[in-house]
Symmetry: C2
């Protein structure tokens, strides 16, 4: 990993903050940030917008990747790290491969759609043309609690 | 398959036409259309825009899926078929799962990134919450020729 354990925790706090914002907008609370590995600067953020946009593509990671491409002016995000509160789905894992992100750090695992260790591990597939480094379980308790509380609240209201 | 063999060929011709448009814009020639399974109407089209937008997400399928969601006003594209000239990559296969597209028809196989039979088959993975029907090899010669001619021309110019 490029960043120290303390910095990784701090970056994940920023991703968790994005997740909370999504929850306040009644979206499933998932948040993401992308960091420039050379400067440490946060170059983009994203949070789940699927319901409000009614767009199947608008996961936190996709929003952050598109914003990072716009910021750096390239589809190649080679010297960046992506921090996300939940294990990426196949679409987002594929977007990470396609954008050549160097490192991926995620929080909670997702047994239902997680494609970075749960259902399969697309980011370890050497037949794709890019394999990022991966660190899992960073602040997974906080990330998981956000999700569990969100769904508990929905069930309570029904 | 919902549509007849003749209709499938006609729809793939429309996707091939989108691919040609991408090639004329110096993009890798890949095209996609999405059809309403109930009316047969083409509800969206997409062609590869990665280079011109410098956005890693802008594959033909993603563009068509986002446009289809906007058209129907929902992230669920349950009663639709997606026609694409090249086997989907993991990102696009994941987007197809996420948008609940009913049927996927593709042309040429992609040994480098194809995730619907070549490297793996994400659309047959029953642990994801949706498995579309898949038909491969439709007009694969035309779809493959478009790609081979495009790359031959690039090598010739170098």
């Amino acid at each position: 990993m490029i960043f120290s354990e303390e910095k990784i925790d701090n970056y994940m706090d920023l991703a968790l903050n994005e997740a909370k914002k999504a929850g306040e907008r009644k979206e499933v609370p998932i948040g993401c940030i992308i960091v420039d590995n050379q400067t440490g600067e946060v170059i983009s953020v994203g949070s789940n917008e699927r319901e409000e946009t009614q767009n199947a593509i608008k996961h936190a990671e996709i929003i952050a990747i598109e914003a990072a491409c716009a910021k750096v002016g390239s589809w190649r995000l080679e010297h960046t790290s992506l921090f996300v509160t939940l294990e990426p789905c196949p679409m987002c894992a594929g977007a990470i491969i396609n954008s050549r992100i160097e490192e991926v750090i995620f929080g909670a695992s997702d047994p239902k759609a997680g494609s970075v260790g749960s259902i399969n591990n697309l980011l370890a597939e050497t037949r794709y043309n890019h394999q990022p480094e991966v660190l899992s379980g960073v602040k997974e308790q906080e990330a998981g609690d956000l999700l569990r509380n969100f769904f508990r609240e929905i069930r309570r209201k029904k």
